[in-house]
């Protein structure tokens, strides 16, 4: 091979390589499913046995089979944001996560991914929250608690957004890659947004500079939820954090409620969970903003609440 041929080949290969590098560009997103007509259903269950509690909370909604179909790729998104233990109530309860993942598998899910974008070192959060061990203890290769891959944050334009027109989202959590997104937040105190419940949990599937969200946080959280549309929201209120959230750390700030709230309506779930803190749904800016965007029902008198 002479020099010219060599250079030509290098150029050709490099060009091919550059063009072949995957460029994700999900622009106009993602079949925004219309909301079911009529009053949304919301189930509240209370009990000490958390695995059974998940079943009881899901039963009025038609069980997990109403959300997960056979062969679905499911994402279960708990809060694994903090390097805290179960008792400190900063992350979703691992028993609840495990039960939900198991129900998804029972419903025939092809794959169940559990992940979060942790604030503290993800290894520490995954380990100390107990969630990684809980998912691994199921012993099913379809269910995996995985660390996020930095290559998978892709830009998404949010067309109906009022404040956040474009942001980076985690590809596996988008409707392109996930058939059923189950939001599994924990209800906690949060000084800036007052509470962090279901909709703020979308912070764990976005990339880039999350500090941006804090500038006009209520509207921006609602805007994120135009993209992340959970089919099912289960609010973990087995332990709630009353003060010093969302990090917590002191057991004095934790209140044990042994409660789960389940609904297909993310706004209704947040609205109801707000009442556990002796607050009104309209006190939470993100709930109000989301209701205005048509993401769900915040007026609890219009929500059919079933105690399961």
């Amino acid at each position: 091979m002479d020099r010219r041929a060599f250079l030509e080949q290098v150029a050709a290969w490099s060009a091919g390589a550059c063009l072949a590098t995957p460029v994700f560009n999900v622009r106009s997103i993602l079949a925004a499913e219309g909301r079911a007509k009529g009053n949304p259903l919301l189930a509240v269950a209370k009990g000490k046995e958390y695995a059974a509690l998940v079943d009881r909370a899901l039963k009025p909604l038609g069980g997990m089979a109403a959300f997960v179909r056979n062969g679905d790729r499911v994402v279960v998104k708990p809060n694994i944001g903090w390097d805290r233990t179960v008792e400190q109530g900063a992350n979703t309860n691992p028993d609840v996560v495990k039960a939900v993942v198991q129900r998804c598998l029972d419903a025939g899910a092809k794959q169940v991914l559990v992940f979060d974008r942790s604030v503290n070192d993800p290894r520490r959060c995954y380990a100390n929250s107990g969630i990684q061990a809980a998912v691994e203890s199921i012993g099913d290769a379809r269910a995996q608690c995985v660390f996020q891959d930095q290559n998978k944050f892709i830009p998404v334009q949010i067309e109906k957004a009022k404040s956040l027109k474009e942001f980076l989202f985690y590809k596996d959590a988008l409707a392109t890659d996930c058939d059923c997104y189950i939001n599994l937040p924990i209800a906690k105190h949060h000084k800036l947004s007052k509470l962090t419940i279901g909709m703020k949990n979308a912070m764990g599937v976005i990339g880039g500079n999350r500090g941006e969200i804090h500038k006009g946080i209520h509207q921006r959280i609602a805007d994120l939820n135009l993209v992340i549309r959970p089919k099912l929201t289960i609010v973990d209120a087995t332990r709630i954090l009353l003060r010093n959230g969302p990090t917590g750390g002191s057991l004095d700030d934790v209140k044990i409620l042994d409660t789960l709230i389940a609904s297909a309506d993310p706004v209704a779930a947040d609205a109801y969970a707000t009442t556990l803190f002796d607050m009104k749904p309209e006190e939470l800016g993100s709930t109000v903003a989301a209701a205005k965007l048509g993401l769900g029902e915040m007026n609890l008198s219009k929500v059919k609440i079933v105690t399961a």
Binding site: A17, A20, T21, P22, D83, V119, N120, D121, R123, R124, A127, N128, Q132, F147, Q150, N151, H190, K191, L192, N209, R210, G211, E212, H214, K215, I217, R243, N244, P246, T247, G248, G249, S250, D253
Partner: protein, 542 residues
């Protein structure tokens, strides 16, 4: 005995080299958080085997460091066996051997080119260089000035690997993963490679280029002569060599046969002189001369009869004087030029948790890079000139280096577990919280709620102390357009602050953060100008 179990001795040496290199890489890979608060231990063993590092740290720190007991074992073994460490154990030596072998077609020719020049009398200062370095390092250490980390082979190796090779490896593999898409490689290969072969994430380090350049030079010197670094420069090797001068086990015969002299040609350490015979300071017991002796008379053993004549140390009188001068002058000059640790400590020079006062810390720290390698958040960075000339490569916290990631984890104590000298003490988590790395101060000219009446308090959200060290004042502000807004203005309760820097790292404004960590012993920076007096109680959080 020319063979052991029918395997030639040089093969035993090669097996040991490979095995210990694998152990070294395994320990290096294990120097990472893996789900347990306590590391299994032994990650820093390489440094604790090194008597030079131990002597320098103990001299400079003015204390006996029990962690260095393995170095004492090495000293004992060297007194008996000679400088075997360099030939059989040292991972840098092994890598140099492999590198040399890999480039044999080139190195053979270039080495031939340089051979007469190295043998010439004009090259004699080179032969004394390692003793010169050794003397300088130990004298400087005696004057409490740390130099050992700049020349110690393990520090150079570990820093080079941790700061450059590891991140490169991750990024290279990651690029391959992106390319390979979602095929079998993604499903089968990726998880295995990520879990067992790669670091958890690609770290970023200051001085990566310098660390790489030093290693590149050490390896490039193989072109001049085989084991150039070990022969002429390595101060640890020099110390082992001095201990080996009257070692019991020696190559026999100590003379080189006049008729043949092949072994002198063959010796990678230039330890055999046709006229003067064996130099035990140089011989690393590589066993090549045993296996290649055409007559089969060379062996290693106890010399019983006749007196063994240790060769004089290659350091001339002039060299000794220069070494003494350098060892005394470098600390003196650094202090005189206010580049050493005598000068006031910069307020934002945040040392790892539990570190003693700056002077003690600097004299104990050997710049091995272990703490920076193990730090899960990458917040520990080698100092460039922040700590003066004396502090180059010493670890400090840089919370703003990697956005949203660089903070000292509240529950993590790994740096203290890997520190081979105790410069960063081994602390239980609760004790760590009683040794704050620093204290945070708001900058009211930058912090959004203070400077621009914009709601933010992300720092408060992140603050990890069970009772938040960042508290909030609810104040009413009138904006320019006349609108009255209620705004949460944060302030620091410095009794609670542990100086982890998560507030600074996560501050939402770009560039210089609106809240910054300062040394505990630094004066109030005076940036909290709008807060008239410290609120005694936080009305908002109760």
């Amino acid at each position: 005995m020319r063979r052991l179990l029918w395997i030639p001795w040089r093969w035993w040496r090669r097996i040991a080299q490979l095995a210990l290199l694998i152990v070294f890489v395994w320990l290096f890979r294990r120097t990472e958080y893996s789900g347990a608060e306590q590391l299994p231990g032994g990650e820093n063993m390489l440094f604790r085997l090194d008597p030079l590092v131990g002597a320098a740290a103990m001299l400079a720190g003015r204390q006996v460091i029990a962690l260095f007991w393995p170095a004492l074992v090495m000293v004992g073994l060297t007194l008996v066996l000679g400088r075997f460490f360099c030939g059989w154990m040292c991972p840098l030596g092994t890598l140099l051997d492999y590198f040399h072998g890999l480039l044999r077609p080139i190195t053979r020719r270039t080495n031939e080119l340089f051979r007469p020049r190295l043998a010439a009398a004009s090259a004699s200062p080179l032969r004394g260089a390692r003793y010169f370095l050794l003397l300088t390092v130990l004298l400087a250490a005696a004057l409490a000035f740390p130099l050992v980390g700049l020349v110690d082979p393990f520090s150079l190796l570990v820093r080079g690997l941790a700061f450059v090779a590891d991140p490169l490896l991750y990024r290279g593999a990651d690029a391959c993963f992106v390319w390979s898409g979602n095929g079998w490689a993604a499903t089968a290969l990726q998880p295995f490679v990520k879990k067992h072969l790669l670091p958890f994430r690609p770290m970023v380090f200051h001085l990566a280029g310098v660390s790489a350049a030093i290693l590149v030079i050490i390896f490039a010197l193989e072109l001049v002569a085989r084991r150039f670094w070990c022969r002429y420069l390595c101060p640890t090797g020099a110390l082992f060599g001095l201990l080996a001068r009257r070692s019991l086990v020696k190559r026999l015969p100590v003379r080189v046969c006049k008729a043949c002299g092949q072994c002198a040609e063959l010796c990678r350490m230039d330890a055999l002189d046709p006229a003067a015979g064996l130099s035990p300071q140089a011989c690393t017991l590589c066993m090549e001369c045993v296996d290649h002796c055409p007559k089969g008379i060379v062996k290693f053993g106890l010399k019983r009869k006749g007196k063994s004549q240790p060769r004089p140390i290659d350091l001339s009188r002039r060299g000794v004087l220069a070494g003494i001068a350098a060892g005394v002058a470098i600390p003196g000059a650094a202090v005189a030029a206010r580049l050493g640790h005598e000068s006031p400590v910069p307020p934002n020079l945040i040392r790892p948790p539990g570190a003693d006062d700056e002077k003690t810390f600097l004299s104990l720290c050997i710049r091995c890079g272990e703490c920076m390698k193990v730090c899960p958040t990458n917040v520990l960075q080698p100092a460039i000139f922040e700590a003066g000339l004396a502090g180059i490569f010493s670890p400090h916290l840089v919370p703003r280096l990697i956005f949203e990631q660089s903070n000292c984890e509240f529950g993590c104590t790994l740096c203290g577990q890997v520190c081979p000298t105790g410069a960063i003490p081994r602390l239980a988590v609760e004790m760590k919280h009683h040794h704050p790395t620093g204290k945070s101060y708001f900058d009211h000219t930058r912090c959004l709620p203070w400077a621009k009446e914009t709601p933010c308090i992300r720092c408060e959200e992140m603050c990890p102390t069970p009772e938040k060290a960042i508290k909030v004042l609810n104040t009413f502000k009138i904006k320019k357009d006349g609108e009255e807004v209620e705004i949460q203005q944060p302030y620091v309760d410095r009794d609670l602050c542990v100086g982890c820097g998560i507030c600074e790292s996560n501050c939402t404004i770009d560039g210089v953060a609106g809240i910054r960590v300062q040394r505990v012993d630094a004066p109030d920076p005076g940036t909290e100008t709008l807060l008239k007096k410290k609120p005694s109680q936080s009305p908002a959080s109760k």
